[in-house]
Amino acid sequence: MSFTLPRGQFAALVGPNGSGKSTLLRVLLGLLRPTAGTVRCFGMDPRRLVERGRVGYVPQRRVLAPDLPATVAEVVGTGRLARRRWWRGPQSEDRAAIAHAIEAVGLGAATRRPVRELSGGQQQRVLIARALASDPELLVLDEPVAGVDAESQQLFRDSLVHLVREHGAAILLVSHELGAVADDLDRVMVMKRTIVFDGPPDELVAGGVSLGVHRDDLPLWLEGIE
């Protein structure tokens, strides 16, 4: 497979379970070594990327420890470590970036609240704020809206659109459900071991795939093209 993601593009990678989405994502992030081929992130091997703050990563929300006594600001603050010397305390610009990221996901009033007291949707927004705190030029999200409530999805959508339009960042969203962001996508890639579709979302919708929740119709569509 081969694809490039230019600046300012909002793209989604979809596909059934076991299609290789998560493996591809981990290779892109430098968490796995590719067994064949090459991956370049900002022109470099992702595992050797020096300016790591250029990449933001939102994992599936299960990673947050349910009993962890950490505040929203503390968790989001770990995202800023990529942009500063981590052995030093946060400077004023770091504090401003952390506060801005928390505001961007609508959690300004919960800055000092323990993350474990937040709902699942709010915790997911904390993880998005953590990725935003480093002012990323590329944001990679793994199943970010699965099981998230409508209000959180809308805030999530607003913060991603803001990142693309105001900051010119590129976004790669890997998901079963595209939910509230389906209408804002520039590009959709469908994966089943390789990329079987790469184009504008309208084309996929014309093929009978509903992008909001494509859990049922995407496998049928894939059977149709095989």
Partner: protein, 311 residues
């Protein structure tokens, strides 16, 4: 110098004697350091790491007796090598989670028993390391323990932030370019150093308790990670001081009494937070919100999770 400093301290009973002041100094250092390390170990689901490394330290003590070198130093070397081996086994997937700990746990104690029998030193010579001998701490011992304590606090001040990021979410920390492998290895080394520093205080068999019990209390009370660190240290120091005082008052073993004090702290905190939490919930629930369930059929089947409300 340490001796001269402590001899001048006009402390009240039970810390009015020099040996008690030396013991107090050692106990306070361990009461600060062990919970600081424990906060990260517990979050990493490695609460028993201190136990595994403690058994390796016992093998190190036995090696010191066999080779006729200072047991504290041989224990430090063996504990550091063993702690790094645990980290390596887990990272390379050779033995995941508690299996790696079990390997060093049993290997360490078996090696210690064999080396003690070969050294001809007799089992009594290792009892003070197994159960602690804080009342025999010398000014030189205290100097070494304090030095190790300063090293632990300094390293955590430098590496605490990436360590927190890594125990919170290892993948995200790697993507951010943080030194995840290095901080993990550092945590293992600091665990080994803490175990050796605490060996004279509570003994290798109880050392993990001081890493875990104060953290268990602080996680019930704290509302932030910084607060967890502060409260864990306060509980650790309180347990050390109260346990040491109790040991003198009742003539009991100091190591065990310190750990029992930490256990009692957890019991008080657990009961207190449960009681206060229940009372708080009752106060906050207006009468018109109380539900009188009349139809058992409306409830989910026994044991079924009802899920979390999003919002």
């Amino acid at each position: 110098m340490t001796e001269a400093l402590l001899a001048t301290l006009p402390l009240p009973w039970p810390f009015d004697r020099e040996y008690m002041q030396l013991a107090l100094g050692a106990a306070v250092v361990v009461g600060v350091c062990a919970p600081l390390i424990g906060v990260f170990l517990v979050q990493k689901k490695m609460a028993l790491m201190g136990d595994g490394v403690g058994h390796l330290a016992f093998a190190g003590v036995a090696a010191g007796l066999l080779l006729e070198v200072a047991p504290l130093w041989s224990a430090l070397v063996v504990a550091i090598i063993g702690a790094l081996a645990i980290d390596w086994l887990q990272r390379r997937g050779r033995a995941t989670g508690d299996l790696a700990l079990a390997l060093v746990f049993y290997g360490g104690i078996a090696l210690g028993v064999v080396l003690v029998s070969r050294s001809g030193a007799g089992s009594l010579s290792v009892v003070e390391y197994l159960f602690g001998s804080i009342l025999t701490v010398t000014p030189q011992d205290l100097g070494l323990i304090a030095g190790l304590g300063i090293a632990i606090v300094t390293m955590l001040a430098l590496f605490g932030r990436p360590l927190f990021a890594a125990v919170l979410d290892e993948d995200a920390a790697r993507v951010a370019g943080l030194p995840v492998d290095a901080t993990s290895a550092l945590l293992s080394v600091l665990t080994a150093v803490t175990v050796v520093a605490a060996m004279r205080v509570v003994g290798v068999l109880l050392v993990a308790a001081l890493m875990v019990l104060p953290v268990a209390s602080s996680r019930l009370l704290a509302r932030s990670f910084r607060g967890t660190l502060v409260i864990a240290v306060l509980v650790g120091v309180l347990s050390a001081v109260v346990g040491l005082a109790g040991a003198r008052a009742w003539g009991s073993a100091p190591g065990g009494t310190i750990v029992l004090a930490a256990t009692a702290c957890f019991g008080i905190v657990a009961v207190g937070t449960t009681t206060v939490g229940d009372a708080g919930r009752r106060r906050r629930t207006p009468p018109d919100m109380l539900i009188d369930v009349q139809n058992p059929g409306a409830l989910p089947p026994h044991g079924q999770q009802t899920g979390r409300t999003e919002g």
